[in-house]
Assembly symmetry: C2
Homo-oligomer: 332 residues x 2
Amino acid sequence: MKIAIDAMGGDNAPVAVVMGSIQARDEYNLNIILSGREIEIKKILEKNTSNFNNIEIINAEEVISNDDKPVLAIRRKKDSSLVKALNAVKNKEADAIVSAGSTGALLSGGTLLIGRIQGIERPAIGAVIPTMKGGFTLLIDSGANVDSKPEFLYDFAIMGDIYLKKVMNIKNPKIALANIGTEKAKGDKLTVETYEMLENSKLDINFIGNIEARDILQGKTDIIVCDGFVGNMLLKTMEGTVLELMKGLKTALMSTTRSKIGGILIKPALSDFKSKFDYSEHGGAPLLGVKAPVIKAHGSSDAKAIKNAIRQAKICCESNVSGLIEESIMRR
Amino acid sequence: MKIAIDAMGGDNAPVAVVMGSIQARDEYNLNIILSGREIEIKKILEKNTSNFNNIEIINAEEVISNDDKPVLAIRRKKDSSLVKALNAVKNKEADAIVSAGSTGALLSGGTLLIGRIQGIERPAIGAVIPTMKGGFTLLIDSGANVDSKPEFLYDFAIMGDIYLKKVMNIKNPKIALANIGTEKAKGDKLTVETYEMLENSKLDINFIGNIEARDILQGKTDIIVCDGFVGNMLLKTMEGTVLELMKGLKTALMSTTRSKIGGILIKPALSDFKSKFDYSEHGGAPLLGVKAPVIKAHGSSDAKAIKNAIRQAKICCESNVSGLIEESIMRR
């Protein structure tokens, strides 16, 4: 199995990406294709391993950044690490792709170059939200699609279900619809109609009804289904709130001598607590609904997070997630 | 000026509500109408004041709870404290109403009984979000309307603008649109079209563009405009995240002897920090777009929060917020 890696994507690229790729090759016995500036990549390889087996490099001189317009960048930056990695998958030289770069570009590129699974109108991104219980919830769609129709949300649920069963090993995952109340009749037109579809699904899914936004972190459900506009709002609101609270807490702890001493004493407990929010533990976010596995690793990924994302891509291939999605969509 | 109070609404009703009403009467020189169970209210009054001037009681035997269906409850529970207080406003016996009870019922009742301002299709609720800077942001709509049209969101912006200028004394309030990106073309159809309307408004408003969800708590804007489905999601996500983080932090602090001692030392700094999130400081949430001031006090309001909400209702009356909204809407 060959996994294509966008070696230039992410805050810590290319060093962390190349190092994570070496680790993944060694631990999971994989073939790796590193797409990016060959000279830079080679230097990092030479520094970190004496074994160059099962690692190929595709030279790509350009890099797509978060400031690039996604669709435009995919069309114009033909010599970018991302486009070349995507083309490797398109041309069957690789089985899957991992990138820690621009989410928008990976989404556009995945859809334009690798292509949608037959029957799927809108591929979606499933973000992994750590919960207070220690597990996680998959939020799908977390930002790929706006102005969704009920049919799209229904497909998001099916895709999330297969992903959790096959890749994350969760039996009979609970699926909930993000809503402003728990009653069936609550919400906007989109949510009410999606509820109806999920409730009456012929497929073997475990739909548990609506979930309110204030309960998301409690881990009451395995999958949260919503439109990408709403999902992105949820995700960013959570991120922003955690960030601001932690900043505020830090300032509070520095405010008096007493609180400073207290701050030193609680440091180990606090860092245990913070590790609960460690996204990298649960790997990257899958782009579901395209013909081959596409994994978006967190922008701030270190080598370990990259390694985990590659592992995810591998399991997606082995368990034939894309094929199973196509099959389910035909029966829906 | 007479303010009608739903004496039975809220977690701490009727005691906190009646006590807050007495304080408001004394501090702001107001006439208060308390709607609720007369015997209970009289007992609390007798215990807390020797002066019964400027306090009337409307006896109402029923109470509308959060479990009641809003529209149904307004139609059927004619003898409820909320309906009787609303009717007092409708019949011009009172100038405004304050309730800490069911938001949905107050919204339905405000719209059905007091009535919409001419030209306003959808009244909206403006929730007050404390920001890390110490101020607050008005989130409108925070849950009254789903499936909004751009025209509704545009009106939310105008109403929020007048409210902040007149009641909260903010000069030239910044208005931002909640969106998944800052660029003009970002977002769903609703947001893109609303952006266009706000940008081209003839009215004297200070539209600053889009704001991303992760920046909400930073206090970059005075008003955040969005559909009620999205607004409710944002609000509940923030509440849920703060709640879960604080719970998690508490557990972490109790985990070892060392962290317990640290926890005792940081207690004063932590409680200063927590007070930043004190909703009651900024009063209740206004229902804007109805013919008379309607203020929703937080469900967990204590006497002070009720007093502040009554003060808000008073300023709304004095500054003729409803009249100014009608005037702006005619010129929009």
